[in-house]
Symmetry: C3
Subunit: 202 residues, 3 copies
């Protein structure tokens, strides 16, 4: 079950990477590289920091699912772009799942709740940041103002708190993931925005 | 004492990250991400290469000090920009401290003096390079010509030499840090410049 | 023998990094940073993922050869640019060698053939991607269409297959390297191109 949810999150993140490749007129190799890095980059950063062999290099599915996403976008990208609203909902689900799973894994490896939550956020947003840098853009996360990292932060904080209080296993992970997912959806619907520095106008 | 100096260096580097965020009109999340990456990126790279758990993920202060720097820049950035000359002096101090501490740590973990010095430079300049790449710019370090990495190289080389000769502890670290600090100040005051490749004019 | 071939590959990759520095009018420090990162970045990424101390931080030659390449390009870059066709052939040789050696090392450390091949490709193309990102450009690999990563993929796949079948040692490495080298040369001569996503024209 956990593995299947992971693969869904990886698939959705890979779609966003491959679509960025189409937008930038990259060739098929470039699309595949962006798909892999977007999907696996956050978990890779997490595992390098935890000093363990990255999960992406132990699972065949983690590597092949982004290839499948690339093929789909390669042939049917106009259709994929048309269902973008649905993809954004799935992306929010991936965000929630990855921040909860990343935080949990960091707690298991002995990080403090503060650092585990930081690593959970890294897991959730790292791949998208790498995608944007490789595509020659400032990471959306840094300037977009519509809340993306903040829901992941709150989900990660709750996960770290639950785990610290001795609540482990899927109910806790699911609760934290659903919280981040819901906050991200609300941020999209109600256009909740992060502030600019004082005096920069609004 | 060592921890306090480290936190001062982290604070100054985080200020420069948050100020870059203001300059690029990033939102508060973007400012905080740049502050954290600028302050912690160099040490993170060093610890990943040394194959140890990063110091940033073991200290609460290392994570919270950049948050404080972000808040200060968020509310008072015109004042912060006005004291930029003072910040540049503090940045030079951070550069000196980080190259010395980074080199020392690498020696402790058994690297050769050459590699330890290389890792000391990485510690000192890595965060600033990550800041510039995330902000969509070529790292200042690569084209600015005013010497920045070279003082760190010389400080790191002296630190590696002292450490290799059996001089450990704070006197040696301080000597190397002060050397790099002084060279960086002199480079700023006298505008010492790195050469362009032959024929590219000057 | 193996060490000498490695150093030749590092030298050629470093030349391409230093030449990019000239093209972008970077100063000597910037040229040296690009040369080091281009030459060592791919192997560094590989070793971080394998969770071992990077080879670049254990060999003096690996660090000094890019310095030598920087000095050569600094003084004689018009001549170096003039022999670019020969450098591209050497770059193809470096590509072949690095993908084979990287895959072999990953197999030795217990990765599956699929993951070992992925890491072999990372070794071969990682440095060039870092070079382009630091120089403020989208990695050539992502949009250039002329096949570069694909020869490395095929060479890595063959290396992984041979290694998995129990064929180790230099004959196998050489066979895989020569295959990738030959495919890359053929891609250059015959302008074999990766496709764009359907409907993006061609």
């Amino acid at each position: 079950m956990s593995e299947i949810l992971d693969l869904v999150g990886i698939f959705v993140f890979a779609l966003s990477g491959a679509l960025m490749g189409v937008r930038k007129r990259l060739d098929m190799v470039g699309m595949a590289v962006l798909a892999e890095m977007t999907a696996l980059g956050g978990g890779l950063a997490r595992d390098l920091i935890l000093n363990v062999r990255p999960a992406a290099f132990q699972s065949v599915g983690y590597v092949l699912v982004p290839v499948a996403a690339t093929v789909i976008v390669f042939f049917w990208h106009p259709h994929v772009a048309r269902v973008m609203p649905a993809i954004l909902v799935l992306d929010a689900a991936g965000l929630g799942l990855f921040c909860a799973v990343g935080t949990e894994k960091a707690m298991v490896y002995g990080l403090s709740p503060l650092h585990a939550a930081l690593l959970g956020v890294t897991t959730a947003v790292g791949g998208g940041m790498i995608r944007d840098v490789l595509a020659g853009e400032i990471p959306t996360l840094l300037y977009d103002r519509q809340l993306y990292a903040v829901p992941a932060m709150l989900g990660s904080a709750v996960m770290a708190g639950l785990s610290w209080a001795g609540w482990h296993g899927w109910p806790a992970t699911l609760a934290a993931a659903v919280l981040a997912f819901g906050l991200r959806l609300a941020a999209m619907r109600r256009n909740w925005r992060a502030p600019l520095a004082r005096g920069l106008g609004d």
